[in-house]
């Protein structure tokens, strides 16, 4: 509903106010006269009419005069036709790279996720006041700078789709940390994107990646303690979600998806097999490293190498990485050194990892490992 109103009015604040007014009117009128045949269309039409009234009253901004030529709709005209699905335009506006990343995330959750400002504030551990300011600054920038409410032109589309996917994945990863159920919200957004952009392989791939990870979330903790993949109780995995993730991955591959999300989804999917094909995981990480040039990906490749049996090579790879402040570098080194029987070096590496860790469950797990040596 909000998407349709922003598209029609070209103004976030006006659209939000109009929507609220329409809901208020509905609450009152539907109680007296009963619910109309098409409640969604009724709400949008009412909101549009309210907004047009308001603009007519105010008659301030010259750029809104085009709206004065629009006729208001009568109740007979309240059918679904003519009310376009403009959620995609709204997503591209919210995830415009001219906005700060944190603003893109907040706007997307507010406008498309339907989360309240207070809920978003809570999820990102900031005060409601701060979040309110962040949202209104972003909305003001959209208006003042002429960020378009449109699907980007073909030659801009790949970059802009990437920007949208980055926002959704960031929302997912915030949820992965275990705060409000942002992970479920991100998956919902991922499904919406798949419906709106069915030909984009990376859109399917991101959904696959999120579903495959999320399917395991109940097995990831035992009480307060972290459980590593190899030790997870597979009966706690959500088989339906895993299946859906696999289907999404197949669709991405069928659309020739070979991008970073497709590779990560393929890796995540392989890791849910009964017998993990580690050499293939190594290969996929190598391709991902080529695309992203990320040392963190190289670290993951090292872990897969060790699982595939080549601990020495894995350690050599880890020792060549410039990631000295990264706690997982040291926890990985510690694990590899332990396997190679170099206990003193392993202890030193565990201590370094523990010193860098900010998460309490991780600290407990590392301390336990250190104690086992």
């Amino acid at each position: 509903m909000l998407a349709s109103l922003v598209g029609f009015l070209g103004d976030f604040d006006l659209a939000e106010e109009a929507a609220q007014e329409a809901f208020a009117i509905a609450a009152e009128r539907w109680r007296r006269k009963g619910t109309p045949e098409n409640p969604g269309a009724w709400l949008i039409t009412t909101a549009r009419n309210r907004a047009i009234d308001r603009i007519r009253r105010e008659r301030t901004l010259a750029d809104k005069t085009r709206l004065l030529d629009v006729h208001t709709f009568s109740e007979d005209e309240m059918q679904d036709e003519g009310i376009e699905d403009e959620r995609l335009e709204l997503i591209f506006t919210c995830c415009h790279p001219a906005l700060a990343m944190e603003a893109q995330v907040a706007l997307t959750l507010r406008a498309l996720g339907g989360l309240s400002t207070e809920e978003i504030a809570r999820a990102f551990l900031v005060s409601e006041e701060t979040m309110k300011r962040r949202l209104s600054r972003a909305k003001a920038k959209i208006k003042a700078t002429g960020i378009p409410f449109a699907i980007p032109a073909d030659h801009l589309l790949p970059d802009r789709v990437d920007a949208v996917l980055a926002v959704v994945y960031l929302i997912y990863n915030e949820g992965y940390g275990g705060r409000i159920d942002l992970a479920a919200e991100a998956i919902r957004l991922g499904r919406m994107l798949v419906a709106l952009l069915p030909d984009e392989p990376e859109v399917h791939a991101l959904l696959a990646l999120m579903l495959t990870h999320h399917a395991r979330h109940r097995a990831r903790f035992a009480g307060e303690d972290l459980v590593l993949l190899a030790d997870q109780d597979r009966s706690l995995w959500d088989a339906r979600q895993l299946g859906e993730g696999r289907e999404s991955l197949q669709r991405a591959i069928a659309l020739h998806g070979r991008g970073p999300y497709a590779l990560q989804a393929a890796i995540a999917s392989l890791q849910t097999e009964q017998e993990v094909n580690w050499p293939q995981v190594v290969e996929l990480y190598a391709r991902l490293a080529e695309q992203t040039r990320s040392p963190v990906v190289e670290l993951n490749r090292a872990v897969a190498l060790a699982e595939a049996g080549d601990t020495e090579l894995a350690l050599a790879l880890v020792d060549g990485l410039q990631l000295d402040d990264y706690r997982y570098l040291h926890s990985t080194r510690a694990e590899l050194l332990r396997r190679l029987g170099r206990d003193d070096d392993a202890r030193a590496a565990y201590r370094k990892a523990i010193a860098l860790t900010v998460s309490e469950p991780e600290r407990r797990m590392l301390t336990r490992r250190l104690g086992e040596l």
């Binding site: 415009h96 002429g146 032109a153 801009l156």
Partner: protein, 115 residues
């Protein structure tokens, strides 16, 4: 909508080019200026020609050059009349400073209210 594209150069980046490259870069600047959506533009003389003016207690103080040494130096501007920010960004991305270690800052111009 009108947008100002403020062109910042990396000092010495133009001078480092060969004669042929300089001609190409100048041609690209001209091409941006000649786009029908570009309504104005100017290149400034080098920053060594700058004079900074301040007024304190009614006295005009002038100093040589800008104060701070900056990594990027303001070198000129364009005014675009574009449909939206995406169009303005695309025009700005054709300005050579963007790939010569400098940048272009795009900002909407305040439209004066008709009297």
């Amino acid at each position: 909508m009108k947008y100002a594209a403020l062109v910042y150069n990396k000092p010495g980046s133009f001078e480092a080019l060969s004669d042929g490259e300089r001609q190409t870069v100048s041609g690209e600047y001209m091409a941006v200026r000649q786009d029908p959506r570009c309504v104005d533009g100017a290149q400034l003389e080098p920053v060594t020609t700058a004079t900074t003016v301040r007024v304190q207690d009614g006295r005009t103080l002038t100093t040589d050059g800008p104060f701070a040494d900056t990594k990027e130096v303001f070198g000129g501007y364009f005014i675009f009349d574009a449909g939206n920010l995406d169009e303005a960004i695309e025009l700005a991305s054709h300005v050579p400073s963007t790939w010569m270690g400098g940048s272009v800052e795009v900002r909407p111009v305040v439209e004066s209210q008709p009297a």
